[in-house]
Each structure stands twice: as structure tokens, then as C-alpha cells.
């Protein structure tokens, strides 16, 4: 391998890793706040790409129908739960959050689409349609079992992924899509041609990571999310509602997965089931950070991207094997580094 090829592979790996990093940060965010390892995050990323492709083709995506169905179901569950607990006074709020807002989002998307909007608006529409899915799934699927074990939550998360893949096939069909590049700009860097799309991916990852840092460190809501992640009981004693923190975490995580889906769609062909590998590779990155550290997850995800890039050059057929084999030494290292974890659990 010459240094030129190594540089090309490194740049390609960093770009792919940056996409994984966005999903990995979302995965860590959801896990620390809700204890759910949200496997369908990759599906959210893939669905965003497919939604954008449908909008590009002037078709209203099935994601809209999915949001409407989930909104109706979530509203029904919330209303029944409120009536059972004698909290009828909260019904208007529930109808607004679980029904009116998601339906308004779909309505706005549907109306805007009829006006043949430019690419920038289509990007916003795709993100708008995608963002409510995870919070609604949280209300329907995870909140009733919020006190379950991490293993139970993970099992349900895996089942949810398969359900979403099935729905993806139904809504988007078996064909893969590749959306138009967000920019045609390209430049030479250290003798290697770097596309504007690659630069955009890295820039987006940096900007979103920065925004997330500002959100967590400088806003009360961000700090409340961190507090919920650090100490759930302590945060409840401050009046922080874990379910509200969970909803915010799912919204933010979905947005990041959505952005990664938009960024990856012009460089990789995305199928209805492409999300699984994106999510799983981001998960490997998140494990590097111990599922608790955002910088750790981001660095881990970029590492996965670079490894994948070099592995696909050496042996395309074995690239996934090589990437997932990385898990074994990481898990051994992490288990040796955290011998006190049982003590922590007891606390």
C-alpha cells in the first residue's frame, strides 16, 4: 500500500467514522438517560436517507404514514394511562404532544411537498418526518417496561429493529437509493482529492458534537439530562421527570441519526435494511467509550470507520468480520479496566 492510497483510505475512513460518530453519540445519549441500547438508531438513519430519496422523487414517503400510526397508538396508550392514574387534567397536554404535533409535522411535510420544494427544504422535511419516530416508539414500547432490566430492554430493542426493517421494506421497497450530493465542491488536501461531501460529513459531525457539548454544559435542560444519566433517583428528587428526559434524548438522538442518514445517502447506496450495520458499527464505537462517554464514543466510531476503510481495501469480503472482531479486545480491555463495576451496581 502506497502512502497515497493510505491517505485516501484514511480520509474515506474518517468520513464514514464521522457518520458512525453521530449515531454512536445518539446511542450513548439514549443509553445513559434511559438504559435502552437503541438498536434501531441505524434504521432511523437509513429511513432518513430513504425518506429524502422519496421526497427527491416527488413521492410522499411511507414515513409519514408511520408517524401518523405511531402518534395514534402513543396517544391511545397515554390517554388510557392518564385516565387510569386519575390524571385527567394532563389530557390536553398529552393530545398536543402525542397527536397534534406529530400530525402537524406530517401535514406540513405533505403540504410543502406539493409545492416542489428545493433540496434544502426537502432535507428539513426528511428530518421533520423522522424525528418523531423514536420518541413515539419510546412512549409505546419502552416506557411501559422502563423499570425492566437492561437485557430486557435490549431484547425489545432488537425486536423493534426487526419490526422496523419489515416496515422499511413495506414503505420503501427492496430497491436501494443514492441521493444527489449536497455539494459538488472538491479540493486537494496533501495531494489527495477530497470531495465536498466528505468535508461536509466531517464538518457536520464536528458541529453537532459541539452543539451537543454546549447543550449539555450550558443549558438547564442539558444538565438535567446529564443528571438523569448520572443518578436517576437523585434527578427525580430534583423534580426532573425521567420520561421527559428520555423523550428529549430520543429527539436529539433521532436528529443526529437523521443527519447521519442524510450525509451518508449521497456516498453509499442505502437499502431498507442498511441501518442495522450502521447502528451496529456505531455501537462498537460507543462501546469503546464504555457506553457513557461522548468523546470516547466519537473517537471509537471514527476508529471503526478508519479500520473499516483499510479492511475493505485489504479484504472487502472480510471487512465486517474485521470491524466486529475489534469488539473482543475492547471488551476484554473494558472489563479489566472496570473491575469495580459490581460494587457500583450494588450502590
Amino acid at each position: 500500500m502506497t502512502s497515497d492510497i493510505a491517505a485516501i483510505l484514511a480520509i474515506d475512513g474518517i468520513a464514514t467514522g464521522a457518520v458512525y460518530a453521530l449515531v454512536a453519540i445518539g446511542t450513548v445519549l439514549i443509553f445513559t438517560v434511559t438504559r435502552v441500547i437503541f438498536i434501531p438508531f441505524g434504521d432511523i438513519a437509513a429511513f432518513t436517507a430513504l425518506t429524502l430519496a422519496a421526497l427527491d422523487a416527488k413521492r410522499f414517503p411511507g414515513t409519514g404514514a408511520l408517524v401518523v400510526a405511531l402518534a395514534c397508538l402513543a396517544t391511545l396508550i397515554e390517554v388510557i394511562s392518564l385516565i387510569r392514574n386519575g390524571e385527567v387534567r394532563l389530557l390536553p397536554r398529552a393530545l398536543l404532544l402525542y397527536l397534534a404535533i406529530p400530525l402537524a409535522v406530517v401535514g406540513i411535510a405533505w403540504l410543502t411537498m406539493r409545492m416542489d420544494p428545493p433540496l434544502a427544504v426537502r432535507l428539513v422535511l426528511a428530518l421533520m418526518l423522522i424525528t418523531p419516530i423514536a420518541p413515539l416508539l419510546d412512549r409505546i414500547v419502552f416506557r411501559p417496561i422502563a423499570d425492566g432490566t437492561v437485557l430486557l430492554l435490549l431484547t425489545v430493542s432488537v425486536a423493534l429493529h426487526f419490526a422496523l426493517v419489515g416496515l422499511g421494506l413495506l414503505f420503501f421497497g427492496p430497491e436501494g437509493v443514492r441521493t444527489e450530493p449536497l455539494t459538488s465542491f472538491s479540493t486537494e488536501f496533501a495531494g489527495v482529492l477530497v470531495s465536498g461531501q466528505t468535508m461536509l460529513i466531517v464538518l457536520a459531525a464536528l458541529v453537532f458534537s459541539g452543539l451537543l457539548y454546549l447543550f449539555f454544559d450550558f443549558t438547564l435542560v442539558g444538565k438535567s439530562l446529564r443528571a438523569t444519566a448520572v443518578n436517576r433517583t437523585g434527578s427525580r428528587l430534583m423534580g426532573i421527570r425521567p420520561e421527559r428526559a428520555g423523550t428529549i434524548a430520543y429527539l436529539l438522538g433521532s436528529l443526529m441519526a437523521g443527519v447521519s442518514g442524510i450525509l451518508i445517502a449521497p456516498v453509499n447506496t442505502v437499502f431498507y435494511d442498511s441501518g442495522f450495520l450502521i447502528g451496529l458499527k456505531a455501537f462498537v464505537g460507543a462501546i469503546v467509550g464504555g457506553m457513557t462517554s461522548y468523546p470516547g464514543a466519537a473517537i471509537g466510531a471514527v476508529g471503526v470507520g478508519i479500520l473499516e476503510s483499510f479492511a475493505s481495501f485489504q479484504s472487502s469480503a472480510l471487512k465486517d468480520v474485521i470491524v466486529f472482531s475489534l469488539l473482543i479486545p475492547i471488551l476484554i480491555w473494558r472489563s479489566l479496566a472496570s473491575l469495580h463495576s459490581e460494587e457500583e451496581i450494588e450502590e
Binding site: V230, T233, G234, L237, M238, G239, I240, E347
Partner: protein, 237 residues
């Protein structure tokens, strides 16, 4: 003097075991009430039920509202606060962030900075360590932070679970002085303590909890001279 908290015939169960049985107690406005008793008597369980972390039977009225079925967060919004035995601090976060989060339930944010300054004036050590992670503080400082964080919520009734647990005698005296001074702020206090003497010296009224039931109650100044209590809890002869 109006009633702040009234618990009537409260029973709390762990599975089928009744940890607290038909307990009735009340706290009046501006009053410090203590619940003393041996280890395992159900004192912590009682406070956990009062804040809503454990389900209970019976009646629980706080400032005129039935709170028994309310969530923890709703109770906190009504300014009922608990400093638990384990403190439950946000150990990875700074002292300042811990204090700020104490004010999370306040809708009117205009007075937060003033309250923060008051807490720092009350506990100057916290001001010195405001950028330090809560997990790196000493036991006494952690207790100060837990108290300060609860005060940030401007509580009407503050419930304290074993505030002296694991602290050096000098710090214990400081903590009890602080608790006594909170009365001047108009904060009512329900204090659960194993250090019965210090608790009764600070409180206006006391209850004795044994194996989940109230076995004795009365003004603290009477209880502190009660021969049975002196023998059982106050280390006397």
C-alpha cells in the same frame, strides 16, 4: 399554626412484608419534627413513601393536597423535598451544577441566583469548591451540598434522612446548627435520625418508631427526659 404535612394510618409494604404499619404523624408550619428509632425500624421507608419513591396505603396530605398518588416530581414541584440517606448527588457534575439542578423544579427562575448566593453564604466551603466534581468532596462537604441542593428548591417542608450518618462529631454539630437555623427561613423539617440526642435537642416534636410502628410521641423537650428513651436511645442509665 397551619399543618404542613399530615400522614394518617400510613402503611408501606415491601412485597408482603409491612415495613411501616399504620403510622400517623404531622408536621406543622415552621416546626422541626424528628422521627427516632433503631436501625431497621422503618424510618427511611417512611420518608421514601412520603416523597413517593415507595407506594403506600393510608392518607397523606401536604399543604391541603392529597399527595399519596402523586409522582415524586409532582411532590417536589409542590416544594416537598427529601435529602436521602445516600445523598444521591450527581457525582460526575460540579458543585455549582448540582446546586443549579436543585432549582430545576422552580418555574419562576428570577430568584435562582439570589438563592444560590444564600446557599454559598450558608456553606462557604461550597463556594470555594463550586467547580469541583461532587464525587471528590469529603463526607461533610457532600452533606452540605445535599442540603444546599435541597434548599435551592425553596422547600416548604424538607425531609432529612440521617443527615449525620458517617460524619465526624464536629461536622455533625455544624450540620445540626444549620438544620436549626433553617427554621428561621420558614422551612419546616421532618428529620429522621439515629443520633437521637442531637435530633431531640434540635426538634420541637418527636416520634419514636419501632418495628414499623409509632410507639411514643411528644414534645422533644419531654422525650429527651423520658427514662425509657434515655435507656434505649440516649445512652443514659
Amino acid at each position: 399554626m397551619s399543618q404542613m404535612l399530615s400522614m394518617t394510618d400510613v402503611t408501606v409494604c415491601y412485597d408482603n412484608v409491612e415495613a411501616v404499619r399504620n403510622v400517623s404523624l404531622s408536621v406543622d408550619e415552621g416546626q422541626i419534627v424528628t422521627v427516632i428509632g433503631p436501625n431497621g425500624a422503618g424510618k427511611t421507608t417512611l420518608l421514601m413513601a412520603a416523597i413517593g419513591l415507595l407506594a403506600s396505603r393510608g392518607s397523606m396530605v401536604f399543604r391541603g393536597s392529597d399527595i399519596r398518588k402523586m409522582s415524586v416530581e409532582d411532590r417536589v414541584e409542590r416544594r416537598l423535598c427529601l435529602v436521602p440517606e445516600k445523598r444521591e448527588l450527581f457525582s460526575d457534575m460540579s458543585v455549582a451544577d448540582n446546586l443549579l439542578l436543585g432549582s430545576y423544579s422552580l418555574r419562576d427562575r428570577s430568584g435562582v441566583q439570589k438563592t444560590l448566593d444564600e446557599v454559598y453564604d450558608r456553606f462557604p466551603r461550597l463556594r470555594e469548591r463550586q467547580r469541583q466534581a461532587a464525587g471528590t468532596l469529603s463526607g461533610g462537604e457532600r452533606q452540605m451540598l445535599a442540603l444546599g441542593r435541597a434548599l435551592m428548591a425553596k422547600p416548604a417542608l424538607l425531609m432529612l434522612d440521617e443527615p449525620s450518618l458517617g460524619l465526624a462529631p464536629l461536622i455533625v454539630r455544624e450540620i445540626f446548627r444549620t438544620i436549626a437555623s433553617l427554621r428561621d427561613l420558614g422551612v419546616s423539617i421532618l428529620l429522621v435520625e439515629q443520633n437521637a440526642r442531637a435530633a431531640l435537642e434540635t426538634a420541637d416534636y418527636g416520634y419514636v418508631l419501632e418495628t414499623g410502628e409509632i410507639v411514643q410521641s411528644g414534645p422533644a423537650k419531654d422525650l429527651i427526659h423520658d427514662p425509657r428513651l434515655i435507656t434505649a436511645y440516649l445512652g443514659g442509665h
